[in-house]
């Protein structure tokens, strides 16, 4: 029989149990097995042997550096565009709108259809004989031989579109939480509306900006659907390589090594980003 005190002490762990079990089964175990796989060498037909094959990592970098760079570039651009679109949108919904719920629903609505279907729909919208391209051509924005589909523009636009709600919703939440009286106080103290926005609203929205950019950027870096359907092989991202290494060429060690490097670089990028925004400000603002 446990004493009351030790039962109390155990209780938090009991609450953590489902989450921990989930992390162990679906994160820790795969990470360990994949790190083992990444150091194997061989091929599917003759089997793989574990032999500390560190060279897989350096080979992967030299062979797929382009796709790595492209992934971060595209995801970065898409995140910035998503922020530029989402901030006014979230601001309007949080401060000005009387139909908050309807507008929020409209943001989430596309999520009721599958990611794949939405992306393939863009193939139709952007196709060479489609309405969009024809209009842009008649306006002279696109040359007569110009196209949208199978270009870098289409891939970045696709990523932005697909991840926009991940940016808009956290932004909305942090803007909605802002105590209006703080902004009133700022204007009472002779701050212009712009100064109040810059010195009060934006700093208080930082946690939302931070969360939104991470929720957009991280999955976007590893995305392969947009590049596959809206791009060409010249726009392929690291996700395409990993996908194809796992499923098409069945080069499991390289695929695993690439996944680890991707994870590592993302972690570094996130730390750097948190540092730049000032992690202390973030936690303080969130409280």
């Amino acid at each position: 029989m446990l004493s009351l005190r030790s039962r109390r002490a155990l209780f938090p762990y009991l609450l953590l149990l489902p989450g921990l079990a989930w992390l162990i089964a679906f994160f820790l175990v795969p990470v360990l097995t994949q790190s083992y796989v990444s150091l194997e060498s061989g091929n599917l037909e003759q089997g793989f042997q574990f032999n500390w094959a560190w060279h897989t990592y350096s080979d992967a970098i030299s062979n797929y550096g382009d796709q790595f760079g492209r992934s971060f570039l595209y995801a970065g651009i898409a995140t910035v565009i998503a922020l530029i679109i989402s901030f006014p949108l979230a601001y309007y919904i949080a401060f000005r709108s009387r139909r908050k719920n309807l507008l929020l629903l409209l943001i989430i609505l596309p999520f009721f259809t599958s990611y794949l279907v939405r992306t393939i729909a863009w193939q139709t919208i952007l196709s060479d004989d489609g309405f969009v391209v024809n209009t842009l051509q008649s306006l002279g924005v696109l040359g007569p031989d110009g196209r949208l589909l199978a270009t870098r523009t289409a891939v970045i636009a696709g990523i932005t579109y697909n991840f926009l709600p991940f940016m808009a919703l956290p932004l909305y939440v942090s803007l909605e939480k802002i105590d209006r009286r703080l902004i009133e106080a700022a204007t009472d103290l002779y701050a212009s509306r712009f100064a109040a926005f810059r010195k009060v609203t934006v700093p208080l929205a930082l946690p939302g900006i931070f969360a939104g950019s991470l929720l957009t950027f991280i999955p976007a870096v590893g995305d392969f659907i947009n590049a596959q359907f809206l791009g060409t092989s010249r726009q392929y991202m690291i996700g395409n390589v990993i996908q194809s290494k796992f499923l098409v060429t069945t080069d499991y060690p390289t695929a695993a090594a690439l996944s680890f490097m991707l994870m590592g670089v993302i972690l570094l990028a996130v730390f750097a980003y948190a540092k730049a925004l000032g992690a202390r400000n973030l936690t303080e603002a969130a409280v």
């Binding site: 599917l44 003759q46 004989d129 395409n240």
Partner: protein, 403 residues
């Protein structure tokens, strides 16, 4: 010594494929001035036969007693059966209502192989009676000894097999396999977009079509066509010819000539007008013609590729006799005609053409389903490569396709 390594590798593959006996192996290694012990280390170092060498000749015949047929586990590609599965139902009726578990699980050969490889290498049953594999993958399974021989007494209709398909290099007497369908990899184009008739593989690289050409990402198809374009026959081609072909594709891709490398999904690009010229599989052309009226399928002057997908029993099939009755059943000419009319690939069954009169008379003289001798003369098989060369080819191609 790359040249010597390659020879050694080829030689070990012959061993693995059973074309060289162990005694010959030792004799040849001895002639090469190697002692027994160094031969052992060489074998181990090469790792070339691990997991493929079953320590002796693989059995090439089997006897499967006639038993009551209750069930058949059949794994096939999507869209490779008539849509209402009448053929399966008729087989089931002919076999006392036996149940067919028909699974369309083979989307990509490497992917499927990756899924079952470990079971194959452990010598376990896949719990599948029939799988349908394209020549080069079928060859890999035969090489690995992962297939059950066909009891020919149970497949008398094998006599209806096209003579040209009877002796593939990888299974000279069809001991393990029987063709399901053949198909052509060639070129389709949209004349409204190209503005002219096409007749050559080189038309893929016409600068006027820049950004509107798609090629298949499978190097067997795309690089195979490049070999033909270079004026070589795929029958005589070597790895170097294939790699040169891939290099040619790379140059064109870097110029922006090629819009995308695709699997079967080129059909969308052709249908939407994004692609004007595409490397295609013959069986897709029928559907394409419905989507894009006027689309043209050509067998270029330089020739095209003819491949075959083969029915095979993976090792330790649970219902081998049932599988053999199915093989026999689809080699009945009327059934073969019914299948060919539904899926539009090239049937390997002699007599299906006559039987087609009753099924769909419009198809009897269709070159896509029943190529005549003049057409057949322009069709060539995939380039035959060893397993190691196959990997080199795939590596080179994936560098071009960007993944």
């Amino acid at each position: 010594m790359p040249e010597q390594n390659r020879e050694l590798e080829l030689f070990f593959e012959q061993v693995a494929e059973g074309r060289v006996s162990r005694r010959q192996l030792i004799r040849r290694l001895g002639a090469a001035g190697l002692t027994m012990s160094s031969a052992g280390t060489l074998l181990a170092a090469c790792g070339g036969v691990k997991g493929t060498d079953k320590g002796g000749a693989v059995k090439k015949t089997a006897t499967h007693p006639k038993v009551a047929v209750k069930q058949l586990n059949f794994s096939n590609w999507p869209l490779y059966m008539d849509p209402k599965r009448k053929v399966l139902k008729e087989w089931s009726q002919a076999n006392g209502g036996a149940h067919v578990r028909y699974v369309e699980e083979i989307n990509d050969l490497d992917e499927f192989f990756g899924k079952v490889r470990q079971q194959l290498q452990r010598g376990e049953s896949l719990n599948r009676d029939l799988v349908v594999l394209t020549d080069w993958m079928a060859a890999r399974w035969v090489r690995g000894g992962w297939v059950e021989p066909v009891d020919k007494a149970n497949v008398p209709n094998e006599k209806n097999l096209q003579p040209g398909l009877r002796h593939p290099v990888w299974d000279p007497n069809r001991s393990f396999s029987l063709p399901w369908q053949s198909g052509m990899s060639a070129i389709a184009y949209n004349p409204k977009k190209t503005g002219r008739k096409l007749h050559s593989i080189n038309d893929l690289f016409d600068p006027k079509f820049k950004g509107h050409v798609t090629m298949l990402s499978d190097p067997h198809d795309s690089a195979g066509l490049m070999v033909l374009l270079a004026g070589k026959k795929t029958e005589d081609a070597k790895l170097d010819d294939v790699l040169a072909g891939i290099q040619k594709i790379d140059q064109q891709n870097k110029k922006g000539q090629i819009r995308r490398f695709t699997g079967n999904d080129y059909t969308t690009d052709l249908a939407k007008g994004n692609a004007w010229v595409s490397v295609v599989y013959s069986g897709d052309v029928f559907q394409l013609r419905k989507d894009v009226p006027g689309i043209q399928f050509i067998i270029p002057d330089e020739g095209a590729l003819l491949w075959t997908d083969n029915m095979m029993m993976p090792q330790k099939p649970p219902h081998p006799y049932a599988a053999e009755t199915m093989m026999n059943f689809v080699y009945e000419p009327p059934i073969a005609a019914q299948l060919a009319a539904a899926i539009n690939y090239v049937t390997p069954v002699v007599g299906a053409q006559q039987a087609m009169e009753k099924v769909d008379p419009t198809l009897v003289h269709n070159q896509l389903v029943f190529p005549d001798p003049a057409t057949r003369a322009k069709l060539h098989p995939y380039v035959t490569l060893t397993a190691a060369e196959e990997r080199q080819m795939n590596d080179a191609m994936t560098k071009v396709t960007g993944a």
